[in-house]
């Protein structure tokens, strides 16, 4: 049974990778061989660095059977805070500002985790409230004003086009997560809770503590993404990345992460994020106007989840048939 499950989860990533490579080649042919250029691939990662980074935390949250829709609110609040710090001339130290943003995110995530684990509040409602609060706080502290490119000059060099800063953060985060999910006891506990919470509790896992840790990690990544966002887009606005939390969830789901918990891998999440990013990048290149993007995006999400269910049903039926013989 175990080897079968492993094959099943392995299969999704393999098929996703094959579809992605096919899609990449077709798009490349359609736009005359300009798609596989180095700058283009670099752009794909840079433009979607925030989604990719946050999808890692979302993977953890979804694995425990929860959800976090407050992430872009946290992102806006932490990003706006460091934007204002630069605007008011407090500091321009890149390392310090990243640390502050991540710390803010960590605290926000910790609050979410405490409310969800200790207060027995359903994750979607708690994070819905948190989304309102942090987004509202971003507006209030900023007084509806921006931190412009001038205000954040110097700091924004870190994520400027051509600098390797964002790629390093992404790379380190992904390697860390692959190691953590595969070989650390924490990673295995997260899977255990997602597959069967009661069994995990009885076998001695402190479910509350793991849950709090998961939401705290999610918050820290959202804070980090806030700092990265200010750096990449060279400005901080209170309304930044509105609605992007759905993109993050979609990237995870395309990558084969189950919304009911317990199933999903870091590699799948990465592939899902890149799949999403390629589609996003390719649409204008193959001649579709940008106003078509959302429509196509939605259809892809629906198609992926429906295909997932259909193949799972077919597999179940096959298994049953095999057993009968």
């Amino acid at each position: 049974m175990k080897s079968f499950l492993r094959k099943l989860t392995g299969k999704h990533e393999v098929s996703l990778a094959i579809i992605m490579i096919l899609m990449f080649v077709i798009i490349d042919i359609l736009c005359g061989g300009t798609f596989h250029s180095f700058t283009n691939i670099k752009d794909i990662f840079r433009n979607n660095a925030l989604t990719l980074l946050m999808s890692l935390g979302m993977l953890l949250v979804l694995l425990t059977g929860g959800i976090d829709i407050s992430i872009t609110g946290v992102l806006a609040f932490s990003g706006m805070t460091i934007g204002l710090m630069m605007k008011n001339g407090v500091t321009h130290n890149v390392f310090l500002l990243f640390l502050i943003a991540t710390a803010i995110g960590t605290v926000c995530g910790l609050i979410n985790g405490l409310i969800i684990a200790k207060g027995k509040v359903s994750p979607i409602i708690c994070t819905l409230g948190a989304m309102y609060i942090w987004r509202g706080m971003a507006y209030i502290i900023s007084g509806n004003a921006w931190a412009s490119a001038q205000d954040v000059s110097g700091y924004s060099d870190f994520g400027k086009d051509g600098k390797i800063g964002p790629y390093i953060i992404l790379g380190v985060a992904f390697i860390l997560f692959i190691v953590m999910m595969k070989w650390s006891s924490f990673g295995r506990k997260v899977y255990a809770i997602g597959s069967n919470r009661e069994a995990a509790r009885i076998s001695g896992i402190n479910v509350d503590r793991v849950q709090i840790a998961v939401y705290t990690i999610m918050g820290a990544l959202a804070g980090l993404a806030g700092a990265l966002s200010v750096s990449i887009y060279a400005s901080a606005q209170p309304n930044m990345q509105t609605g992007k939390e759905m993109d993050v969830i979609a990237a995870c789901v395309i990558g084969g992460v189950s919304m009911s918990g317990g199933r999903g891998t870091v590699l799948g999440t990465l592939l899902g994020g890149i799949f999403y990013a390629i589609v996003y990048k390719a649409l204008p290149l193959v001649g579709l106007d940008s106003i078509w993007q959302n429509l196509i995006k939605g259809i892809i999400i629906l198609a992926v989840v429906v295909i997932n269910v259909v193949t799972q049903r077919a597999m179940k039926r096959q298994n049953l048939a095999r057993r009968e013989i």
Partner: protein, 344 residues
């Protein structure tokens, strides 16, 4: 008689005044009155007439809160309603600008919403193992995507014949038409939920879907109806949005799903299903609307409302969460034992 959770169920419900005020709905009424008093104290222009004049802008969201209550009671969620509002305003605007008579425009608007809701219902009942959250996330993006494509690069279209819309925006006495529509719709939804078999079936599905199916309830049929209803009511909301915006925009109805879910949850409906009633949601909806108007009157940062709604939401669920936690139950049990010992 003892229920399955150990609570005693008595044949005659306790209807003392204190119990009623201490119930969630009672607390909501107190909060509602508190909001009105606060508004009056903060701003001298917070009069009945002014409140009623500002109301249509926010009031129509309550129309969506009613079917959302049904969906939440079933233990599910629909986050595509805001996009359905957007798409319905777009089709209504196009229909109106094409010169169709106003009743036909209304019909087009409502049918758009109904079709969107039915699509949600179809996908969710055709593949019941799909989580509603992710399906309606997909359709949320699709519906708004269709509106974006239809509205073109400008992203907005204005309704040419304003006179038509002004009929819907009219007032009967000091009350706007939307106010009566909300009250009538709420009455129908409340009666359906509490007095009909359909309503009881919703609770049954929310408490235990498998058990409900074995008990002979056609779960998928009911889910299909409820999701279609959510689409229809979103379109009705879109009609009243049109009377204040006089046109369609790609950002119309953004975040409505969150506002509406907040109203329901603040009104005491549990998102895990099977618990809550629409009366609470209605009062909660009116409280939020009146709070919005009050904050708008005193000219403070309008985004403060986001923080307040967020806090209200978390606190209201936290209270019910804590009263259900092991820690609280143990405390209560200990207090009861102490009392019993003292009585001895």
């Amino acid at each position: 008689m003892a229920g399955k959770s150990g609570r005693t169920i008595s044949a005659t419900p306790d209807r003392s005044v204190l119990k009623r005020i201490l119930s969630w709905e009672g607390a909501l009424v107190v909060i509602f009155i508190g909001v009105l008093i606060m508004g009056r104290v903060l701003s001298p222009s917070y009069t009945l007439n002014n409140v009623l004049r500002e109301m249509p802008k926010y009031l129509s969201e309550i129309l969506i809160a009613l079917p959302m209550g049904f969906i939440l009671i079933m233990g599910e969620i629909d986050i595509s309603v805001g996009s359905i509002v957007c798409l319905s305003t777009a089709t209504a605007t196009f229909a109106g600008n094409a010169g169709l008579p106003f009743p036909v425009v209304i019909l087009v608007c409502l049918l758009t919403g109904l079709a969107c809701g039915a699509l949600n219902g179809f996908i969710l009942t055709r593949w019941p193992e799909l989580p509603p959250m992710i399906v309606t996330l997909g359709t949320q993006i699709i519906f708004r995507g269709i509106a974006e494509v239809a509205l073109g690069s400008g992203g907005s279209a204005s309704y040419a014949n304003n006179a038509d819309l002004e009929i819907l925006g009219k007032k009967i006495g000091p009350f706007p038409i939307a106010f009566f529509v909300v009250l009538i719709a709420a009455a129908i939804f409340i009666v359906v939920l509490s007095k009909t078999t359909f309503g009881r079936k919703l609770y049954a599905i929310g408490s235990n879907r498998t058990a409900a199916a074995y008990a002979g309830i056609k779960v998928n049929k009911i889910r299909f109806i409820v999701y279609s209803l959510a689409g229809l009511m979103s379109a009705l909301c879109a009609l009243f949005i049109l009377t204040t915006t006089f046109g369609a925009n790609t950002t119309t109805g953004q975040n409505y799903e969150m506002d509406v879910i907040a109203m329901c949850v603040f009104g005491g409906i549990a998102t895990t299903g099977g618990k809550g009633n629409l009366f609470g949601a209605l009062i909660a909806g009116f409280s939020i609307v009146c709070l919005r108007i009050a904050l708008g009157q005193i000219n403070i940062n309008t985004q403060l409302i986001l923080v307040i709604i967020g806090l209200l939401l978390i606190i209201s669920v936290l209270i019910s969460g804590i009263t259900q936690s092991d820690w609280f139950r143990k405390k209560q049990l200990a207090a009861k034992q102490k009392k019993a010992e003292a009585a001895k």
